[in-house]
């Protein structure tokens, strides 16, 4: 059987090859990268019978047009970009069989921000430093270390262990239309927040500025006050979800391509369940925060994985 591949006929706004991220190199300063919404990414892979870490595509705000060479199976999860095959709408959150010559395209974004396409067999790009994720800032990984362009051709891996045609049940499908406060746990420097600062952080609405990307979301709102004049700390570890507070009082949520250490106060950390929701917010939207305890955060995480397990085995 011939190897399947996809040809990018038009790239969409920001499309990259991702898996669940690059681990083991953060001690050298290498970001984790990977799918910003790990829940939707895993779900898509499970629906086509892939291991959860198989490489797929992350789409941002507007989707690409892909031509399939060779038959295959795909699933589309995450933001609703109105997926179509040969200009006919297809359902997201379920496995779809594609034929040689089929064209996968997308319409206007209706909700969320990032959409994931899983391909049975996974995208067969080179593994760099233990991962197929793209870190475009560092120019490595994924497809040639960059966002996809027109004309790019990406091979699809062989399907191991038989095709699966899964359908996600309603409970597994997130609702991006109803905003809720993002659950966070206190950061290591939460104690530096003044009473006023705590009220601002946990009651006010912030706006996601246009200077927001895969490295971090810069938020705008009322200045968050600290007890001390400067919240700067000696450089310490940070990771996706860490909320930093620079001297200008405007917080930054570090995301997948964010740095691994920094010297701004770490006032809170987004929980692993809600980082996926943050990844589905777009510039101009509002965001608010609510604090939860570590035990609750772990419990929420456990429930999320239970939901995924109900779709397929988590290898």
């Amino acid at each position: 059987m011939d190897t399947s591949k996809i040809i990018i006929e038009s790239p969409g706004m920001l499309t990259t090859v991702q898996d669940l991220g690059r681990f083991g190199y953060q001690q050298y300063g290498m970001p984790v990268s990977g799918a910003m919404d790990g829940y939707s990414f895993r779900l898509a892979n499970l629906l086509v019978g892939n291991p959860v870490n198989a490489a797929g595509l992350e789409l941002t705000l507007s989707g690409p047009e892909l031509r399939f060479c060779g038959a295959g199976v795909i699933a589309v999860c995450g933001a609703d970009m109105q997926p179509m095959i040969n200009n006919s709408p297809i359902k997201p959150y379920r496995a779809i069989v594609v034929k040689d010559g089929d064209l996968l395209g997308f319409g206007q974004l209706l909700s969320g921000c990032r959409t994931y396409i899983a391909f049975a067999g996974g995208l067969n790009v080179a593994v760099m430093m233990a991962s197929r994720s793209t870190c475009s800032r560092a120019g490595i990984g994924g497809f040639k270390g960059r966002v996809l362009k027109k004309g790019d051709e990406i091979p699809i891996g062989k399907i191991e262990g038989g095709v699966r045609l899964g359908i996600a049940h309603a409970q597994a499908i997130p609702d991006y239309q109803n905003p809720r406060p993002v659950r966070v746990i206190p950061g290591p420097e939460a104690g530096l927040l003044s009473a006023q600062g705590q009220r601002t952080l946990f009651k006010d609405l912030f706006e996601i500025s246009h200077e927001s990307d895969r490295m971090g979301y810069r938020l705008q709102g009322k200045d968050i006050e600290l007890k001390d004049v400067s919240g700067d700390i000696i450089s310490s570890g940070v990771m996706p979800g860490t909320i930093q507070l620079p001297g200008n009082g405007q917080p930054i949520i570090l995301m997948a391509d964010g740095q691994t250490s920094g010297g701004y106060a770490r006032i809170a950390v987004v929980t692993s369940v809600d980082i996926n929701r943050v990844a589905q917010l777009i510039p101009g939207e509002s965001i608010s925060f609510v604090v939860v305890g570590v035990e609750e955060a772990i419990s929420l995480n456990r429930n999320m994985f239970k939901l995924l397990k109900s779709v397929g085995p988590l290898t």
């Binding site: 190199y25 290591p188 570890g237």
Partner: protein, 210 residues
């Protein structure tokens, strides 16, 4: 520096405990070797080690106890030899737009700042911030300066900077809040070269004005 209370961050499940000076490098070596179940990644820093764990693979209490056990065995850990790396730097002018500020803030001349910065042998305490970025210890307090209140959106690769009592080099173009005093052509991170990284924690570094 005293030990602080146990601290927990849960996102991709992070466990973070502060250690006394000098312990963290031993701890990192130990954790790397031990291959502990449920530990996903580690980030050693100046006076802390962030241990990222998966709470579905291990529970926090067992992990905490295990880390404490390791901590008690630290004296037995053997560290690898360190190497010295020399970095040629063009100081000031367009290559170091904040050199003047550093000098004025510390009531020194620009020449004095360069002389002080380049006459120290620095220790690579940790790496982070961007791939290949070295956090150097041993900088002379006389040239310390606060980081910028409004971080720059783009700092060029090879830029040499200072923030508070730290100095370092940006290995790739990146946003950042450090005060930039000079520029080097050396690439500390090159994914197409073997080795990808020229440095590791524990190495020593010296800047050479050119």
């Amino acid at each position: 520096m005293s030990k602080k209370a146990l601290f927990l961050e849960v996102n991709c499940y992070t466990f973070h405990q502060n250690f006394t000076d000098g312990f963290w490098r031993d701890m990192k070596t130990d954790i790397n070797k031990e291959n502990i179940k449920g530990v996903v990644d580690i980030i050693p820093a100046y006076n802390e080690v962030m241990i990222q764990y998966n709470p579905l693979s291990t529970d926090l209490q067992s992990l905490t106890e295990y880390i404490r056990l390791l901590q008690n065995k630290l004296d037995a850990v053997v560290l690898a030899d360190s190497s010295l790396i020399e970095i040629p730097v063009v100081y000031g002018g367009t290559h170091g737009p904040d050199l003047q500020f550093v000098a004025e803030y510390n009531h020194l001349s620009v020449e004095e700042v360069v002389q002080i910065h380049s006459s120290t042998e620095y220790l690579v305490y940790m790496m982070g911030f961007t791939p290949g970025f070295c956090y150097l210890g041993g900088m002379d307090k006389r040239i310390a300066v606060p980081r910028k209140k409004n971080p720059r959106l783009k700092i060029m690769a090879g830029s040499v900077g200072i923030a508070d009592q730290q100095t370092g080099i940006y290995p790739i173009n990146s946003p950042g809040g450090w005060q930039i005093i000079g520029q080097t052509a050396i690439k500390l991170f090159n994914p197409y070269r073997t080795p990808v990284f020229l440095t590791q924690a524990g190495d020593r570094m010296r800047f050479v004005p050119i």
